[in-house]
Amino acid sequence: MFEVFKKEIKELLRDKKTLLFVVALPVLIFPILFALMGYLMSQATIEAEQKIHVYAITGSEYAPEFSEKIMFHKNFQLSDTKYKTVDEMKDAVKSGDLDVGILIHNNARTTLSEGIQSDWTVVFNDSSALNFIYKRVNDALNSFSEILQAEKFEQLGVTKEQSIALLNPIKLEKIDTADKRENLGEKLGAIIPYLLIPLVLAGASYPAIDLGAGEKERGTLETLLLTPVTRTELVLGKFFTVLVSSLATACITVVSMGFWASVAGRFFDAQIITEVMGAIGVVDLSLILLMLVPLAGIFSSLVLAISIYARTFKEAQNYMGPLSMVAFMPLLVAMMPNMELTMNTAMIPITNVALAIKELIKGTVDYSMVGMIFAATLVLAGVLMSFCVHWFKKESVLFR
């Protein structure tokens, strides 16, 4: 068995394609992609923030403080053309001559003294995800409203303190018992298993295809079967190769993520991330990796069984697609908001591991539950492995 394992590893290490997927992808390509994504996002945000909106205002005489504020706002620039109606403004916004049109229909001071609301209209295109127009107009409008409120309260003889109480009768103080780690863990903890688990699967499936269907296609399987090594030993040698490759992918990814996070931490102010990373600690981190071992066992058995069944590389690859869909579904369940680790969710394979990893990152984990999940996953991995061994002994599978 050890000879088989040794030879498979040797062959694997000489395969550039597998190395690319197992090493280069997590070490170089992923960080570069993430960095590029982050860069583009921040660029888009900065651009939206710095954008200057061409605006037109009708009825500015009804709200002088408001129009003055907009006029001196660094992000607003008054349009040369005048627009009378909403439709005119709409057309101008559509044609791109105008970014935002503001219509003030009546004098806010007069309407307030009459005890009714003043009607204003703002015309702009709100389709963009990053849009500051409405917020900026609203900010200016709020400060104008505050002026009006203050004037009115003064007329009525209400003091400043009273006016604050009148506007907000109740002051609510929020005390969050969740610490930083728990808060961030809830968000980050859902993403990390989502990255790790598919990598465990990918790390298993690339070599598995080569070890099963690859042997059939190259015509080496038959000779291998004719050596005085039992089929159980042969399949176990292959199984452990796949398992090691799968775990190596996960470990390399974790190490490279840690490395790049620390690099990023030097350039940007990522204090929270560093703090959380520090708080997770060695025990929890090794528990996370430990949870991945039986999971990698499950995946390795599955992909190896598929690969042994397939006649060719291509056939094996065709089967891998649906399998990864099957593996993604329980992950999506774990990603759902408010999904917690309970007795019920602990029963769903893959979901339970993803949730346990999330809890470990949050630092709110019930260790006995983790132990139970570990045991259950290990049992499932064992069952699948023995299935794989049995599968490898069937003539109808080997000689299709």
């Binding site: 088989v4 030879k7 015509g219 080496t220 000779t223 004719l226 005085p228 003539e395």
Partner: protein, 262 residues
């Protein structure tokens, strides 16, 4: 020596097979099963070379696979030098060297690593393996390329590597399944020379082929399989006699014809 008697093997039909069942006229198809090998017997003594003949799909490969322990026969007896292959396949494998025309090599390993891997799987210790491997490199004239990766070797070099791999454990009998199919003349010659060497050492060889000139050149005995049944067993002279022709091709066709007429 090798002795095979009353071998039977059937395969369960899959759905794909059942669909074209109507078109099939093969008498071996029956309900859910395809009786690939129905009754095959032959024997090969020390120092003899047995040629296995038969049309495509006659059951030659299945027979040789059972002989080499890859498949388990449903019925029948196979003995190699007194070892029951069916009952004790692990022991039998040490005594059998097997090579087929479609056998491949591990492309990313060198020729040497390919050969040594199988030696190790056969449980050979390092010293013995090294001596035996060097003997084979010398014999097959392989020293110029043993350190090259198998994927960079020419067909002839690959075939030499395959031969060395098949006999690294010094098997007592050698089984070859169409070893020359798809090879050029040079590579074919390597295989023929290899069989002749085995013969001179007294190692029994069984090989299947479609080239009757190879039979003429190498074999003492001939066995013909048609539709899963042995229809001729005997010496080359008896083959010519039964087939009623000095030309082997004609003799072969006559034997097949005769059987289907009966």
């Amino acid at each position: 020596m090798i002795e095979v008697a009353g071998l039977k093997k059937r395969f369960k039909l899959t759905k794909d097979h059942k669909i074209d069942k109507q078109q099939s006229i093969d008498p071996r198809q029956e309900a859910d099963y395809f009786h690939s090998v129905r009754d095959v017997s032959f024997h090969c003594d020390k120092g003899e070379v047995l040629g296995l003949l038969g049309p495509n799909g006659a059951g030659k490969t299945t027979t040789l696979r059972m002989l080499s322990t890859a498949l388990l026969p449903d019925q029948g007896m196979i003995q190699v030098n007194g070892v029951d292959v069916v009952k004790d396949p692990l022991l039998a494998r040490k005594k059998i060297g097997f090579l087929s025309g479609s056998t491949g090599l591990y492309g990313r390993l060198t020729a040497k690593e390919n050969i040594e891997y199988f030696g190790k799987l056969h449980g050979m210790n390092k010293k013995v393996l090294k001596i035996r491997a060097e003997e084979l490199y010398e014999m097959l004239d392989m020293n110029s390329f043993v350190h090259k990766r198998a994927e960079h070797l020419s067909t002839g070099m690959k075939q030499k590597t395959n031969i060395a791999r098949a006999v690294i454990h010094s098997p007592e009998v050698v089984v070859l399944d169409e070893p020359t199919t798809g090879l050029d003349i040079m590579a074919t010659q390597t295989v023929i020379k290899f069989i002749q060497d085995l013969k001179s050492q007294g190692t029994p060889v069984i090989f299947s082929t479609h080239h009757l000139d190879e039979i003429d050149l190498l074999c003492e005995r001939v066995s013909v399989i048609n539709e899963g049944i042995s229809c001729f067993n005997g010496t080359l002279a008896q083959f010519r006699e039964t087939g009623n022709s000095q030309i082997l091709n004609e003799a072969f066709l006559n034997i097949l014809q005769e059987k289907s007429n009966v």
